[in-house]
Amino acid sequence: MSYLVRKITRGKWLSDKTKDNPFDISSDAITADLRSRGNTLSVWEVEQEADIKEAVIALATAGDRLDTIDVVWIPKNELQEKQIECIDTPGNTPIKTLQNTHIDLSSMNYFKIGLFAESIINNIAAKRIKRYSAGDLKKLFKAAIQDGTLSKADLSEKIQETLEPKLNK
């Protein structure tokens, strides 16, 4: 069973109210974390939960700085059952092997965004959420650079600076 990974802002989703009722999800969670472009939402696919790190590194390389991020992963079939279209599209990551693991949730509308939000809170409740600190991301990046899947030159200057070791301050 494959999973679709999405970056979220944990603090916006973790309210006691939302555990029981998706209609109590804060509007900030929807408007900040589920902001669509061309009625699509971007997610990364992994084959199994053990591979979540791959999606995380793909997500992180798409940005220009290393910040702690939270990711939630949702079984793909759960979204398909909700009639949410999953279309393979090339991902924005310098890691070539991960570029074809990107999916657009397409034709999103008011109803489907709600269904997707409901899936997010259900999977948060099922503990399918993990925080990757900037320190964790550094380790992932360094490992990817070491094994040759990622070139340091492909990263933004800020990320490259962050990867430099800090001296005792």
């Binding site: 802002t9 944990r10 973790l14 900040a32 220009d64 925080r131 320190g135």
Partner: protein, 213 residues
């Protein structure tokens, strides 16, 4: 006015009656003045700054008046920053418009910019969205540039009732990642389990990074 504040020579002093009145003396003194080494109270490049007070044979300036003028210039920046925070789409891992605005302003006058952000933080403490936006910006300024104001804001924000404000404050300390940030993190306790886990993981990360384990 901007040129004067940033320290460029500018001869637009004729509107200042005090300087006009003393113009001939000023020119005489200028020659003397420029041949001397500048001291803390006399800065050559700001010689014609109209905020300076002309006293005796030397130009001296009133620090408070100078600061007041600089802070007035920051009012526009403050309005822009709040607007930016309200309107932008912020995403962790991506440089925001507010980051760029603050970075530009820090290059112009870091001291006044920090003061403005600090004031906005206090004035908007009861507005979580603004406080979060300010902390997100502050967290991305280098520890050398933003502190001690940064530590003060982050420490105050940790005691905020809003969980996301607390989390953003902790993110600041994580990004700065120095010994002082470590000390603050080691001395706090938060009542939300996942947030306390986050604090603990950052403590480990910083200790590892600074080779303190």
């Amino acid at each position: 006015m901007n040129n004067l504040i940033s320290g460029n020579m500018n001869l637009e002093f004729s509107w200042n009656p005090h300087l006009v009145f003393n113009l001939s003396k000023l020119i005489d003194d200028k020659t003397t003045f420029l041949n001397q080494e500048p001291t803390d109270s006399r800065i050559r490049l700001d010689y014609f700054n109209p905020d300076f007070l002309y006293k005796n044979q030397y130009l001296t300036f009133n620090e408070n008046e100078l600061n007041e003028t600089r802070l007035k210039l920051q009012e526009g920046f403050a309005r822009q920053l709040i607007l930016c925070i309200k309107e932008q789409h912020f995403e962790y891992g991506v440089t925001s418009m507010a980051d760029q605005l603050v970075s530009e302003q820090m290059n112009i006058n870091a001291l006044a910019t920090k003061n403005t952000i600090n004031k906005l933080f206090i004035d908007n403490y009861n507005k979580p969205d603004i406080v979060i936006g300010l902390l997100q910006v502050v967290s991305r300024i280098t520890v050398e540039q933003i502190n001690p104001e940064g530590y003060t804001m982050a420490t105050a924000a940790i005691s905020h009732e809003n969980h996301e404000v607390k989390e953003t404050a902790i993110r600041c300390l994580e990004n700065w990642g120095d010994k002082k940030a470590l000390e603050i993190l080691q001395s706090i306790s938060v009542d939300i389990a996942w947030l306390q886990d986050y604090v603990n993981s950052i403590i480990n990360d910083i200790q590892e990074e600074l080779c303190l384990t």
